[in-house]
């Protein structure tokens, strides 16, 4: 069966194959530590691919995929959840800005079943008007749940303010009015544009026999054609920001929060490796600079930093949860002071080593179970290269303290900055 596939390469023990007839990518990592397998389908489509008026389509479609196909559906007693959960599978899906993924973590004997279902819904989703109507209110409730949370509200508002033209402007769930106005036709058009084997990667991690796994991939996915519909490229570039932006979110709560974000470069850019290290030095653990300067000083209940890497430029951000009686301005000032200190004096080798070691150990922990590996691969695929996962330790190994200081000086500047405050009403 291997002749149906082209072997591309191996990296970090993970093999990449491509189905010759439909360009479906397959990543394999055999690991017999436990008799289970994670099967994950990553579609290279996310909210980045949506246009105004159709925001939230990727996420809506993710929900609709569980309504099934002609073969797997509730009316026939074969709904996706019923069939898979019956065998003990952990089943779910997630949507993010650059990708959508569907996964099953299940006893190895049932891997063919997961493949059969995923192959079927890759091209034969029903998307019936009745199902769209009933799922719409489910998603609106999901929207309301998120909207309840002031910090989530602030997070999304800062992204919207930082990105005015690029689709990262809107949240993955979409605007409420777009969800309300979604139609089966819109979803069908979106599905027919993006749900094809040549826009997907299968990750098969766990107790598998390589040849058998590929044989099943061929059996279930091999007959699906590649897309004949051109997929629109996202060509829009965010116009250059000129000056700091500020936003406030007023929402009922007891205490507020502060978020300070800076535009970072596109996901695969090596400067992001240094920014990753910087985010850990600033925000991870009790020895982090934010903990020492804010939380330990009673300014925040918690504070952290993150470098959100995406296919296109994303955000490096710092977040502080206000402590009782502390003004937002004081928190903001303290965060900016922490940044300024790094820009001026850099970080220590000890801080960098500690951040690197955390990641190395975390990668070793990933190998304890198949889901984490698939999940990390999923994010690497999203930003443009699955080997980003396997090469990550090498990438961060090349980062120096000088690099970290340089990226702090280059990216954490006023002209890339958006500041958001959640002010309790």
């Amino acid at each position: 069966m291997l002749e149906a596939f082209s072997f591309i390469e191996t990296s970090g023990g993970i093999e990449q194959w491509v189905h010759k007839s439909n360009d479906l990518q397959v990543l394999l990592y055999p690991d017999a530590t436990a008799p289970v397998v994670t099967f994950m389908v990553t579609y290279r489509v996310g909210s980045r691919n949506e246009i105004p008026g159709n925001t939230g389509a990727t996420h809506f479609l993710e929900h609709m995929m569980f309504k099934g196909t002609e073969r797997f559906n509730k009316q026939a007693g074969t709904s996706v959840f019923n069939v898979l959960q019956r065998v003990g599978a952990m089943v779910n899906a997630t949507t993010w800005m650059d990708r959508t993924n569907y996964f099953e973590l299940l006893p190895k004997a049932h891997l063919p079943l997961a493949m059969e279902i995923e192959a079927d819904r890759m091209r034969f989703a029903r998307l019936s008007p009745e199902d769209v109507t009933s799922e719409k209110t489910v998603i609106l409730n999901e929207f309301d749940r998120g909207d309840n949370e002031p910090t989530q509200n602030l997070y999304q508002t800062v992204w919207s303010m930082a990105y005015l033209a690029h689709p990262y402007h809107h949240s993955t769930i979409g605007w409420r009015s777009d969800i309300e106005q979604t139609t089966p036709e819109k979803l069908r058009a979106f599905y027919d544009t993006f749900y094809w084997p040549d826009n997907a990667t299968l990750s098969i991690i766990g107790d598998i026999d390589r040849e058998q796994a590929l044989a099943w991939v061929h059996q279930y996915f091999g007959s699906l054609p590649k897309s004949t519909i051109p997929r629109p490229e996202v060509t829009i570039k965010e116009p250059q920001q000129r000056g700091e932006r500020r936003i406030t979110v007023r929402k009922e709560a007891e205490l507020g929060s502060v978020m300070i974000a800076f535009k970072n470069p596109e996901g695969l850019h090596t400067d992001n490796d240094a920014l990753d290290m910087l985010s850990m030095v600033l925000g991870s653990g009790k020895n982090s600079r934010l903990y020492r300067a804010l939380t330990d000083q009673g300014l925040t209940v918690a504070a952290y930093a993150a470098n959100s890497r995406h296919r296109d430029p994303g955000l490096f951000y710092l977040f502080g949860y206000q402590a009782m009686g502390v003004r937002h301005a004081k928190i903001e000032k303290a965060i900016l002071k922490v940044i300024k200190e790094v820009q001026k004096n850099g970080i220590t080798q000890e801080e960098l080593d500690r951040a690197r070691q955390k990641i190395k150990t975390s990668m070793a922990f990933d190998r304890d179970g198949s889901y984490n590996i698939a999940s990390e691969l999923n994010e690497a695929i999203a930003i443009g290269d699955w080997k980003f996962y396997t090469e990550y330790v090498t990438r961060i190994g090349a980062v120096t303290v000088a690099d970290v200081q340089r990226v702090a000086q280059t990216y954490l500047i006023e002209d890339r900055r958006t500041i958001g405050w959640h002010l309790p009403k």
Binding site: A32, T33, A34, P35, V36, F66, K74, S79, F81, N82, Q85, R86, V87, G88, A89, M90, V91, L105, L106, P107, H110, T133, S134, T137, V138, I139, N141, E142, D144, R145, D147, N148, P150, K251, E252, A253, E254, L255, G285, K286, N287, R292, D296, G298, V301, Y321, A323, M324, R354, Q357, K358, I359, T361, S362, A364, F365, R367, D368, G369, S370
Partner: protein, 418 residues
């Protein structure tokens, strides 16, 4: 079947369950001991929470930054937590780092610094965190249900955030010290570990951590049962378009009760996963909610817990959603479960059990939970056969015996529709 691979070791004051697996380098462990959070304190559970939170704030030998550096420089994880009647800990580290990480655990448990400055910071942070929770709909709905079902001397009772803030205002470090002295002891000290572990070597390290710990004779004075309290509690919050709804009733069943597994399976059929009845109907068919489920909560080997349903509803669907959920509840009680549901969920639970055991973390947690629930080690192998042996008649009998829909308390929190 894997019990035969688990090595049970008894040290001077601990029982250790160790399961070497083929995973390379990684070791995970869970542990706990009885702390019996009772006594002459304004709120022993709150005191226990703060005492445990103080344990990673420095020891007599190293401040919190040095301790943190010891762990972070190795990428190791170590957490201590307050867990009702017990105090627990979890860790994960590379095999070579075990001595250092367990050394930190020992230092934190045996020689906490209890620095006044650190206590003051923690006290103020906890007050802030409690204030933040006041506007959280899920927290408020759960709390109102909790107060409807439990007296304040039951281990499942949760003090309200407002009361806790008032107590925190007056809390003193001396109370924390006294609590540590009196409640940290080797009562039913259990540790479970899995991964690239040498059981005997691990036991030797554990021996050092708990050197000199004694078993204290204690008897619990907690109330044993909750209150059946039909009715409704509404907690009005501003600016919250999604409302959290909880429904619940105390169940006089502990983990060791002969009806426990049947009741667990019954609840799973109603609301245990995406293909369970509540998701199937109220979400999938009627589109009324994003999140709905049912579970047994607060059940231990000593104390009975409660049956609960949770559902999240947007304002416009509040009434319809509650009605639809109650309808499913009544149907489940009156008509019972079907043979096909039973068969489906039995295979679900068997498969899920296998999947949950796929990591060292999952294995250690399962072994620990099994022991804490009062079961012999064999239960780890017997669990699935016992579930598979349950009949529809048994499951329906326990539903009717313990759940009367008329006795359910309903709790709603959020911004009510106009």
């Amino acid at each position: 079947m894997f019990v035969h691979r688990i090595k049970t070791l008894k040290t001077e004051n601990a029982t250790i369950f160790a399961l070497p697996t083929s995973v390379r380098e990684v070791v995970s462990w869970y542990g706990s001991f009885y702390s019996f959070p009772e006594g002459n304190y304004p709120d022993p559970m709150l005191l226990q929470e703060l005492m445990v939170a103080m344990l990673d704030k420095g020891t007599l030998y190293r401040d919190k930054f040095l301790i943190s550096d010891e762990l972070e420089s190795r990428g190791a994880q170590l957490q201590l937590f307050s867990d009702g009647l017990r105090i627990g800990f979890f860790g994960r580290a590379l095999k070579t780092d075990l001595p250092a990480v367990l050394g930190v655990l020992g230092e934190q448990l045996n020689a906490p610094q209890f620095d006044p400055g650190e206590f003051e910071k923690l006290r103020l942070q906890t007050i802030s965190a409690r204030q933040r929770s006041l506007s959280n709909t899920r927290y408020r709905a759960e709390l109102a249900l909790n107060h409807a079902l439990y007296p304040d001397n039951h281990p499942n009772y949760n003090t309200s955030a407002e009361q806790e803030i008032a107590l925190l205002e007056d809390m003193k470090l001396e109370q924390i010290r006294a609590y540590h002295q009196k409640h940290v002891s080797a009562n039913q000290l259990i540790i479970s570990t899995a991964g690239d572990v040498d059981p005997d070597g691990f036991a030797s390290m554990v021996d050092q951590v708990f050197l000199g710990w004694k078993v204290e004779n204690r008897t619990s004075t907690f109330a044993t049962l909750g209150n059946i309290n039909p009715g409704k509690t509404v907690t009005a919050l501003k600016d919250r378009q999604n409302l959290d709804v909880m429904m619940g009733i105390p169940i006089p069943v502990t983990t060791l009760h002969p009806d426990y597994l049947a009741l667990y399976l019954a609840t799973y059929i109603l609301g245990g996963n995406f293909s369970a009845r509540l998701m199937n109907t109220v979400r999938d068919e009627q589109g009324l909610t994003y999140g709905i489920g049912a579970s047994l909560s607060g059940v231990t080997q000593e104390y009975a817990g409660y049956f609960q349903i949770y559902v999240t509803l947007s304002q416009e669907n509040l009434g319809k959603g509650i009605t639809a959920t109650e309808e499913q509840l009544r149907k489940w009680v009156q008509e019972g479960i079907t043979e096909s549901e039973l068969a489906e969920k039995k295979t679900t639970i068997a498969g899920k059990y296998q999947v949950e055991m796929a990591t060292t973390h999952g294995l250690a947690r399962a072994m620990q939970q099994n022991a804490e629930e009062g079961y012999a080690l064999d239960m780890l192998d017997d669990y699935v056969p016992k579930i598979e042996a349950l009949t529809a008649d048994e499951v329906n009998r326990v539903i009717r015996k313990y759940i009367n829909p008329e006795d359910i308390h309903l709790s709603i929190a959020g911004t009510l529709p106009e």
